[in-house]
C-alpha cells in the first residue's frame, strides 16, 4: 500500500487561538480512518485545511505524492479530494440531480480522463441518488428534504466528484439506527471500489465498525493514533472524553 495523504507538522491559528498544532498523519491508499475528538477539538478545521477551505499556517500537506500547499479548494477537489460539509450546504436553487451535476461537470470532467456527456451525466446523477436512497426526489429542490436527507445529499455530492479520498464529516448525525447501517454499508462499498475514507463521527458504533485505524484529536493536538480497540482504552483518550 502506498501513502495517499501525508500531513506533516500542520498548524493553524485563528488570531491568538491555536486550533491545530503539530499534526502528523499518514493515510494509506484504500484505508478507512476514523477521526474523533470532543467538540471544538479541531476535526473540522483539519478537514478544512486539507481541502483548502482554510489555509494552514504551518507544516505541509501532500496528496498522492504532490504538495497541496497553495492550491485552491477547487484544485484540490479536482486532484481527488472530496468532502461533505458537517452542516449541509446544498445548492438551494438546483434540483437534487443538478446538485450532483456540479461536481461531475467541474471535478470529474475537468480531470480530462473519461469526461461524461449529456445523458451519461444524467444517468450518473440518478444512480448516485439511488445509492443514498434519494432517487424518488431527483427533480425536487433541497428545501423539500429533511435534515437527514440533506446529509445524504451532501454525501452523494461528495461521491459525485469521484474522489480518491473522501472526508465524511458527521454524515450520520441524527440518523436512525437503520439509516446509520445504510450509510456504513455505503461507505464500505465505496471503500471496496478503492476510495480511501476518512470519517469524522461522534456515533461510536459506526466509528468502531468502519474504522481500521482511529485518530483522536483533543484541543488541536493528536493524542492517539492506532487500532480502534486499543485507542478507545487509552488512558489519555478516556480522560479527554470523561474527565479525570
Amino acid at each position: 500500500m502506498t501513502t495517499l495523504l501525508e500531513i506533516a507538522a500542520l498548524g493553524k491559528r485563528f488570531g491568538g487561538f491555536t486550533a491545530l498544532q503539530d499534526i502528523d498523519l499518514e493515510v494509506m491508499e484504500g484505508e478507512r480512518l476514523g477521526l474523533i475528538g470532543p467538540n471544538g477539538s479541531g476535526k473540522s478545521t483539519l478537514v478544512n485545511c486539507i481541502c483548502g477551505t482554510l489555509r494552514h499556517d504551518m507544516g505541509s500537506v501532500r496528496f498522492a505524492g504532490r504538495p497541496l500547499d497553495g492550491l485552491t479548494a477547487h484544485e484540490r477537489t479536482r486532484s481527488g479530494l472530496a468532502r461533505s460539509f458537517q452542516l449541509p450546504r446544498p445548492f438551494a436553487s438546483l434540483t437534487l440531480a443538478e446538485n450532483l451535476r456540479i461536481p461531475i461537470l467541474y471535478a470529474v470532467n475537468a480531470r480530462g480522463d473519461g469526461a461524461l456527456s449529456g445523458p451519461d451525466i444524467e444517468r450518473r446523477c440518478l444512480d448516485l441518488l439511488a445509492e443514498v436512497g434519494l432517487a424518488e426526489k431527483a427533480q425536487r429542490l433541497p428545501r423539500d428534504l429533511t435534515q437527514i436527507e440533506m446529509r445524504k445529499l451532501e454525501l452523494a455530492r461528495a461521491m459525485a466528484a469521484q474522489p480518491r479520498l473522501l472526508f465524511a464529516d458527521e454524515v450520520m448525525a441524527g440518523l436512525s439506527h437503520a439509516e446509520v447501517d445504510e450509510i456504513i454499508a455505503l461507505l464500505f462499498r465505496l471503500n471496496r471500489q478503492g476510495v480511501t475514507v476518512i470519517m469524522i463521527e461522534h456515533i461510536m458504533r459506526a466509528v468502531m465498525e468502519l474504522s481500521q485505524r482511529l485518530v483522536v484529536l483533543v484541543a488541536g493536538r493528536k493524542i492517539a493514533d492506532g487500532a480502534p480497540k486499543e485507542v478507545v482504552r487509552d488512558a489519555e483518550v478516556v480522560r479527554a472524553y470523561l474527565g479525570e
Binding site: C51, G52, F85, A92, L94, I102, Y106, E122, R157, A160
Partner: protein, 326 residues
C-alpha cells in the same frame, strides 16, 4: 421507480438548441423591424429603442446579478464607458461606423469589468455592491474632469440625417443596431443558462464554499461573469450619444439606468433570460406611456413601485409566477 425517460418527459417542454434559438431570435427581430418600417412612425422607433436598450442592460446586469448573485450597483459606470468611448471615437474619427463603436465600447467596459472583478470579487454580498457603487462615482468623476469628451459641459454629437445602409430616419438605424445587440445578448444569456457555465454560476450564487468544494473555479467564473456583464452594458451605452445627440455626465450617469437595469430583471425574473425581457418590455413600455401621458418625472416612480411590489409579492418575478412549481 420512475425511469429516466419519464423524468425527462415530466421536465420542461422540448427546448430549442442554441443555433435554432438564435435563428428564431433573428426572425423575430426582423419581424419587429419590418413591422416598424411598415408603421413608419418615427416615435415608435424612438420609444422602441429605449425598451431595447433596457433589454440589453437588464440582461447584462442579470448575467452577474441574477446568475451568480453578485449585485452590481455600478451599472452607470459601464454604460457610460460605452457611451463616452463613442464620444471619444466620434471626436477622433467621426466616420467610424456605429457597430464598430459598439464593439469598442463593449471591449473597454469588459476590461473595466475584469479589473473591477479582480479587485472586488473577494468581497461578498453587500460589500461587493458598495464597491461597485464606488466605481460608478470614480468613473463619473473622471469623465466630468476630462475636457476632450466634453467634461462637465457635455458633448454634442451630430448624427447623419439619413441612416446608412437602410435609408430613412437615423433613429431607425439606431433601433436596428440595438435590436441586433438584443439578439446577441439574449442568445448569449440563454447559452450560458443551458451550459456548464450556467450551472457553475448557479452553484456560486447558492453557496460559494460548496461550489469550490465541488471543483468549481469560482474566481475564474466570476471574472467571466463580470467581463460579459460589463461588456454588454458598455455595448448598450455605445449608441447613446447618437440617440440623445447631446451627452453630459448628468444624463450619461443618470440614476434611471441603474434603477431600471436592476428593477427590470427583478420584476421579470432573474432565473431566466426571459425575465429581463419581460421586465424591460413591461416596465419600459409603461414608463414610456406614463412619460407621454402623465409626466416625465413619474416614470422612475413606476420602476420603484413595481420593484417593491414584486420583491414582496413575487420574489421570483413574472417568469417565476408562470413556471410550474417543482
Amino acid at each position: 421507480m420512475v425511469s429516466l425517460a419519464d423524468k425527462q418527459q415530466a421536465g420542461a417542454a422540448p427546448a430549442l438548441g442554441g443555433i435554432p434559438f438564435l435563428l428564431v431570435l433573428i426572425v423575430i427581430a426582423a419581424g419587429i423591424f419590418a413591422f416598424g418600417r411598415w408603421l413608419n412612425i418615427s416615435y415608435a422607433f424612438f420609444a422602441g429603442y429605449v425598451v431595447l436598450q433596457y433589454i440589453v442592460l437588464g440582461t447584462a446586469w442579470n448575467i452577474l446579478g441574477g446568475y451568480t448573485g453578485y449585485v452590481n450597483f455600478g451599472i452607470t459606470a459601464f454604460f457610460a464607458i460605452g457611451a463616452y468611448s463613442s464620444v471619444f471615437l466620434y471626436k477622433i474619427a467621426p466616420s467610424l461606423p456605429l457597430p464598430l463603436m459598439v464593439v469598442v465600447g463593449g471591449v473597454l467596459a469588459g476590461l473595466v469589468g475584469l479589473g473591477m472583478g479582480y479587485l472586488t470579487l473577494r468581497l461578498r454580498g453587500v460589500f461587493f455592491s458598495i464597491a461597485t457603487l464606488a466605481l460608478a462615482v470614480v468613473v463619473q468623476t473622471l469623465i466630468t474632469n476630462w475636457d476632450f469628451v466634453g467634461g462637465a459641459r457635455g458633448a454634442y454629437v451630430l448624427r447623419p440625417r439619413v441612416a446608412p445602409l437602410i435609408g430613412g430616419d437615423y433613429v431607425q438605424y439606431l433601433f436596428l443596431v440595438m435590436l441586433g445587440l438584443c439578439v446577441v445578448v439574449l442568445a448569449t444569456a440563454r447559452a450560458i443558462e443551458r451550459s456548464g457555465l450556467g450551472y457553475g454560476f448557479a452553484a456560486i450564487r447558492d453557496d460559494e464554499g460548496a461550489a469550490e468544494a465541488s471543483g468549481v473555479p469560482t474566481l475564474k467564473l466570476k471574472l467571466i461573469a463580470t467581463v460579459l456583464s460589463g461588456g454588454f452594458m458598455g455595448m448598450a451605452g455605445a449608441p447613446l450619444p447618437y440617440y440623445v445627440t447631446y451627452l453630459d455626465p448628468a444624463s450619461g450617469f443618470s440614476l434611471n439606468y441603474a434603477v431600471n437595469a436592476i428593477a427590470m430583471p427583478l420584476i421579470g425574473g432573474t432565473s431566466s433570460w426571459l425575465g429581463p425581457v419581460v421586465g424591460a418590455v413591461l416596465v419600459g413600455g409603461l414608463q414610456e406611456y406614463i412619460r407621454v401621458t402623465i409626466s416625465s418625472a413619474a416614470n422612475v416612480l413606476v420602476a420603484g413601485g413595481l420593484m417593491v411590489a414584486f420583491v414582496i409579492a413575487a420574489p421570483e418575478g413574472i417568469v417565476g409566477l408562470f413556471r410550474r412549481k417543482r
